[in-house]
Point group: C2
Chain length 460, copies 2
């Protein structure tokens, strides 16, 4: 009676989608339980406190791998797998930069991941300021000989995070362009919305054939100080950067399953990435994603009856410098036809405001309760389809697995991202719970449905 | 006719305070001019860009002195004086701290001004966390032998800044208390409302007879990470700090006058402090105060007729580690009876929300127009009297000079104060102009009045 009554009420209330009433009830109960559940916070606090920053190839990452297995085990996941893959790694050494003239002033910088080091004695030259990458591209090849190129494009704050894509090339491809122009080093204003002196790192890659010059990001106020000084007269800067590359290192994708009760071979793959940059403690990037998806899986695993399909939480092992997506897709090639859908939580812990489904799932009757399930969380079901799950689901998406996206409010994300400021105190526990609530409701609905794993039409 | 008409209109409109109508008109015109005037921003940008950080005893401070003379001259001040005084100075060296166990993690710290250095090889010990200074004081003397004492009291964000006073002792006197308990080093959570890794420095002084142990401030997230780790088990930290003391250095108070047209010997002393900490560029602390008061003086100096009394802008030379207040009062001892009132701008560039007058000036008919003059700036004239002008006017106040206070919104001030984040970009140009507008209106009203220099009753 205790179990039948809510289902009866729901089936009356939702008579047009009566076949889905029972999953929606369970999803609603899971959602509401998640609002008061501390699992995600515990995971987040443990990972950031007990492991700290965990770049690939570091001793901390080895400890993180063990932590991941223990955590998945403790929260009731089964079929736990640790899958190693080769991953050459870049390790930061000592870094410093100073204005030499018109007067000595220490600059706040951070080397970009993948940058070559400077010679031990550093490099020194006059800076040339470019407001945009287009301005840098416009000068003749070789014209920056002996100079340090500085690009100062600001990043625009947006809720969606699209300001990042608009300016990301200054970090990723700027060094190669500057090298071709003859520059001896490259500095970019940090790709960040912050106004902190703390600079923001991130990956860069040299274009084939481009001169490999050292590249670093400036704190926002440092970039602006250079602009003002350079407007007044010549400015000389000295840059020292050390780094090493380990071509023999290994990373791991770690996963655990909440095994489905009826069609366990059909799998929903979700997760976050376990690796982080070496600065901060990787709280928003991406211990939060680990915590949100693991907690959602755990809450579903605690149910007396698991949903029909399997929910797999993957802790991807090398997102920041790439590799885990391809490695996972390659290792699980044979499973591809059984993957229902994929999703990654990798945008901090800001509140979710929109769910985007794969296009062909948007009209599925089985998912018709989603707007009602999401409304109390102040999450809309978007009229736009998902444009991808996350960096770590790209390999699956290329193999044809559809992805969904639970879009988080990223207004503050790029104040913190890839910097020393990515620490636990930046996460709001209520926001974290709201994330878990949206994830758990969505995951349950898909896992207990019959929608086709690939076409995402309703089966049968 | 051009000059008489406004005065006539004003005297009709303000018939109850008709004797003050003409100064109030001029004050209102100055106020409105200041709202669109770029002088303060130019001064602020020049000082922070061309000089940068300027701790006492540094080459930058020598450049700042020359800049000050040039600036006061350029803006029409006369009677410019550079008064040297002896000021032993403390100079920061290399500083670092790391967690050693349970795992290696770099901590973000900054040495407190006046701290002794560590031995070259550093100090290392287990941390003991105290939530408050009272908890530290409660343990027996000698009980922290070999340990590093850590005090983690958070600072409360307030508009008035009173959160600073409530917790400041953790920085100023904590090291001596910890030394008495036997600690080998002292760490405090930064006295700041920020959540940045960037730590906040400030002066400390060892109590007579207390063991002198090295003392530093932790970034806020670092302090919280230590709390969480220490709750899980023993935590060992290593601290390295270098510093030197120069007992022979010199500082300067620099002043310039807008000479009064009728009673030039009666002087209103205002200003900000030219020195800053060695981190950041001292934009809010206190290039803003220099800019606000200099711009206010300049606007008054530009008038075709100066007010009756002299307005003196002082750029005090050693506020952060003390000394300029006493030096100025001592050097100008003979002038004391002629000082009408004093005020300092030393709380950043947040908007002014309240004017506090010296108690005996609060009912002066000559100042009756002030509420009306301040209202368009959204500044109230407080019903509470001023409790002091600023750290640099204390010497004058002790000698009997009354002080006023134009209270600024300090809600964000302690996010930035004494840290690398104290940079130009943190100042809002509109807020800076609002400050100048309030200062210029107030200064003109006092300078063109007859209120008694000491009793601040209306003279005659």
């Amino acid at each position: 009676m205790r179990f039948l009554l809510p289902a009866l009420v729901a089936s009356l209330a939702l008579s047009t989608v009566a076949f889905a009433a029972e999953p929606a009830d369970t999803a609603a109960a899971l959602r509401d339980k998640a609002r008061g559940d501390g699992t995600a916070w515990t995971i987040l606090e443990d990972l950031t406190t007990e492991i700290g920053p965990r770049p690939v190839g570091s001793p901390a990452m080895t400890r993180a791998k063990d932590w991941a297995v223990e955590t998945l085990t403790a929260y009731g996941f089964t079929n736990i797998k640790v899958e190693a893959f080769a991953k050459p790694t870049w390790h930061r050494g000592a870094e410093s930069a100073s204005i030499i003239a018109p007067y000595p002033l220490k600059l706040s910088i951070i080397g970009l991941g993948g940058s070559v080091p400077t010679p031990a004695k550093g490099v020194e030259g006059e800076v040339v300021i470019f407001r945009t990458l287009a301005e840098l591209e416009a000068v003749p090849d070789g014209s920056l000989s002996g100079k340090i190129a500085v690009v100062t494009t600001p990043m625009v704050r947006t809720q969606s995070g699209e300001g990042y894509g608009a300016v990301g090339a200054v970090r990723r491809t700027g060094p190669s362009i500057a090298g071709r122009k003859g520059a001896i080093a490259y500095l970019t204003r940090s790709v960040s919305t912050s106004d902190s002196r703390l600079a923001h790192t991130g990956i860069m890659r040299y274009a084939d054939g481009a001169p490999q010059i050292p590249a670093a990001a400036l704190g926002i106020p440092d970039a602006e100080q250079l602009e003002r000084l350079a407007a007044r007269g010549p400015v000389r800067v000295k840059l020292n950067m050390a780094s090493t590359v380990d071509s023999g290192s290994v990373a791991w994708n770690i996963s655990g399953d909440i095994v489905g009760s009826e069609r366990p071979e059909q799998i929903i793959v979700v997760g976050g990435h376990l690796d982080s940059w070496d600065v901060g403690t990787g709280a928003i990037d991406d211990a939060s994603g680990i915590a949100i998806t693991t907690a959602a899986g755990k809450l579903i695993g605690d149910l007396p009856r698991h949903p029909k399909r399997t929910i797999r939480v993957v802790m991807w092992g090398s997102e920041e410098t790439g590799g885990s997506s391809e490695a996972y897709a390659a290792a699980r090639k044979d499973e591809m036809p059984n993957l229902v859908v994929a999703g990654e939580s990798d945008f901090g812990a800001g509140r979710i405001y929109a769910l985007q489904l794969p296009e062909r799932a948007m009209t599925s009757p089985a998912l018709a309760p989603l707007p009602g399930l999401m409304a109390p969380l102040k999450v809309i079901v978007s009229r736009d389809p998902a444009r991808g799950g996350g960096a770590d689901t790209e390999g699956l998406e290329k193999a044809g697995v559809p992805a969904f996206s639970l879009r988080q409010d990223g207004t503050r994300y790029f104040d913190l991202h890839h910097s020393e400021d990515d620490t636990l105190d930046k996460v709001d526990p209520d926001d974290l719970q709201q994330n878990v609530a949206a994830w758990v409701a969505l995951l349950y609905m898909i896992a207990d449905s019959d929608i086709d794993s690939r076409a995402l039409k309703d089966a049968k």
